[in-house]
């Protein structure tokens, strides 16, 4: 079964149709998606501003990540859950939309950036934790994160427009 066949099958399941055609469910899931985005991307942006050194310089980097990322992850979980439901409602249309493909790619890169920041750079954070001017690599991670999340939001919003289909 090819992915497209799978999406076509998904699209014809009862709940996919139910969400797609509901005048309440679809807007409700979409609204949840946007409000969850507000929490997760909003807090990630605050962490990024600290990494870049623009704001909250009195707060240790380990503190800003340790105390705010759990809340960002809470929003992220809600965002992924509602996002999966939205995809489930219109899998074929979404998968064939270039904006959706860009969004997924940027999301993957944002995940990798966060992973590498934690795995490689964050270990050293203890030594430069209290420095108000953070090393270049941490600043870079912050800038990359802000850029990638901007791409995710923009392409996600543009997904409503089927310019290329």
């Amino acid at each position: 079964m090819s992915p497209l066949e799978l999406f076509e099958w998904l699209q014809n399941t009862y709940w996919s149709m139910a969400i797609r055609e509901s005048l309440i469910l679809y807007p409700l899931i979409l609204t949840t998606h946007v409000l969850a985005l507000c929490v997760s991307v909003g807090l990630i942006a605050i962490v990024d501003l600290r990494l870049i050194g623009l704001r909250f310089s009195n707060v240790l980097i380990s503190e800003v990540t340790g105390k705010l990322i759990p809340w960002a992850l809470f929003g992220f979980t809600l965002m992924v859950t509602s996002g999966l439901l939205l995809f489930y409602a219109t899998p074929l249309k979404a998968a064939q939309n270039p904006f959706f493909q860009i969004k997924m790619f940027a999301l993957l890169l944002a995940g990798l950036n966060a992973f590498f920041f934690h795995a490689a750079i964050y270990k050293k954070a203890i030594t430069w934790d209290s420095l108000q001017i953070v090393p270049f690599r941490a600043r870079l991670a912050g800038c990359v994160s802000l850029t990638l999340w901007t791409v995710v939001l923009v392409s996600g919003r543009m997904q409503a427009y089927n310019w290329f289909n």
Binding site: P27, L35, T150
Partner: protein
Amino acid sequence: MILLPLFEWIGSTNIGLTIRDSMWLFPVIQCVHLLALAMLGGSLIVVDLRLLGLGLKRHPITYLSQQAYPWLIGSLLMMLVTGLLLASSDTLKIYFSPPFWWKMGFLAVAILFTFTVRRTALRLEDIQLEPFKGKTIAICSLMLWFGVGFSGRWIAFY
């Protein structure tokens, strides 16, 4: 209603007509509106979490709110400008859209609350702000702003 002529006039301005006739202007302004929303969310939530006794709780409320403030103002202004531009392109649709009026109601109260009650409380030293009062303010702030976002997303549907 008394506001209908005002809405009709805004819709007939060059700005409104240009956005309506362009294929890409409306989507691009929507994207800026959404980016500003995320930033507004972050700068509100980082302080409201602190008021709830969560998040960056080792730091004074005054410090956090002072650090978040320029981004709060910047993103709010950006949202208002882009929101007005989006609205100007289809004033008759939003005039007859109940979620739009819900959103305006929430927005008016949220702005008023943020720049009076919340701002006054955030200026106090931590010791002067009772935890219960701080928590109540944070919950009101979150509910009001989420109300704005919630009803905003429904304008496209009703």
